[in-house]
Amino acid sequence: MSEISMHDILSLLPMVILAGGILVTMILIAIKRNHLIIFISTLVILLASFSCLVYNVPETPHNIGDLFIIDRFGLYFQALILFSTFVVVVLSYISLKNLFPQKRKEEQYLLILLAALGSGMMVISTHFISFFVSLEIISISLYSLVSYYRELEKAIEAGLKYMLLAAMSSAFLLFGMALIYAVSGKMSFTGIATILPDMNTSHTIMVVAGIGMMITGMGFKLGVVPFHMWAPDVYEGASSPISALIATVSKGGVVAALIRFFLMANLYHFEKVMLAFTIITILSMLVGNLLGLLQNNVKRMLAYSSIANLGYILVAFIAGNNTGLHAATFYMTVYCIAILGAFGIVTIISQSDAEATSIENYRSLFWKKPILATALTIFLFSLAGIPLTAGFMGKYLVLMAATENAHWLLAIVLVISSVIALYYYSRLILVMAKPPDDSVNLAFPTIRLGGVIIVVLLSILVVWLGVWPEYLMRLIYNL
């Protein structure tokens, strides 16, 4: 029942800046609607938050009640979220300019910031209530973001699907929490951990069941099999920057929260839970990649790819010890960069009347827009885990985690599914490499320089992390 101290506020400063920024932006919108100004102010807010975060890293973890913990792990993920949001905001500007002819473009930035806020709070949550509310901030903002292009049939359809299923999964999540709460009387992660050893087996059954239902809720947000089916439709229906937002900010936050929940509540020793995760992971990797196999819609393909990639992250998560968690963190990072880049390219080359979703839009891209094609190739290689890209290092760490803990089955399934995945990544690359066919003259939109710059920077980042991952690894290993 402690009051909240100044120290708490300070340690939450990045998020406070974000929240304040949302209010300021709202006021700005009220004063004068100007797309560019709002765009820039959003970027400034994100930068401020980010720099505040970077220069304010605490030496020791700081608890705010048992609701939040500000530690390096959480801050790392916050930074990742802010970074991803930044890219998404830049892409949003392009996308809105190209594809959203209506007025009232500015609310998208508000909603994006809200999602980032929710995600940022989620990764430092150590309590069911704070976790739930943060999660719902993301969900609610995403419902509107997905259908933001509200006159498009697909956007509304995707929004409805996402809303219904997310609410359903939230109900499961809540019911699971309630079960755990009912039996343990605790809602903070550490509280659960302290109660668990004293429980007899008949009580743990309820805890396990609660975790089971929470898996549904989290699994939905992660988009892992069998809770994955919304992903392709929503990715397709939402505009590309928002798809990227779902794939990075939403999923990244949930991954961090999941790791924190399992670590703090000390759930790793429930072998059945890990078994359930193992099955989910294996299914995600295989089903995700198989679904992507002959996919002609690039956004759907990326959705399936992200299903499988979350499977890879879960492999590291299951491995569990330091290696595994570092691997999951590292992989999440490189996955975010790559998927942001990929969606970025989709955004950039989209025509003004429709997004470039068909694989045919990418035909001969190598010869028409070599820089973009090269960048996309790098991102796809990274998602596929080919050396010289960050994805390779990520996959390598995941495999390392799996082998260290002798999860051979997972490792081998990962290998097999990676090979399957290669097929569709290379398929897209091969389409881009096709010689230009002069008879079919696809006009390319004027490419916005800002988009190109950000995509190129991302691809450089991918290559840099693929060749010289030591810096990031040290950062993660010191979490």
Binding site: E157, G159, K161, L164, A171, L174, M177, A182
Partner: protein, 101 residues
């Protein structure tokens, strides 16, 4: 007041299952939203029961947040439903299956 906690949660479970059935069966999107509300309400009930069993206020706090979330969700959800009605000219959710594969 000597109701076993299990009974309270059982009630919540029954309501939850009914809500789930409704969600899975109904094609009218309004009914689906309604079913979701049933499920959320059931989950809230479970929290109240659990909180009451311990004499803790945390369960009720959670319920309040669930309420807030339900309200926000319903507002966005209904807005979407209106949009859907305009675009698809129907409330049949199965009409909204243009994206697949």
């Amino acid at each position: 007041m000597n109701i076993p906690m299990e009974h309270g949660i059982l009630l919540a479970a029954i309501l939850f299952s009914i809500g789930l059935t409704g969600l899975l069966v109904r094609r009218n999107v309004i009914f689906m939203l309604l079913s979701v509300e049933v499920m959320l309400n059931a989950a809230g009930l479970a929290f109240i029961v659990a909180g009451a069993a311990r004499g803790q206020a945390d369960g009720q706090v959670m319920f309040i947040f669930i309420l807030a979330m339900a309200a926000a969700e319903v507002s966005v959800g209904l807005a979407l439903i209106i949009k859907m009605f305009k675009i698809f000219n129907s409330v049949d959710i199965d009409k909204a299956d243009t994206m697949n594969g």
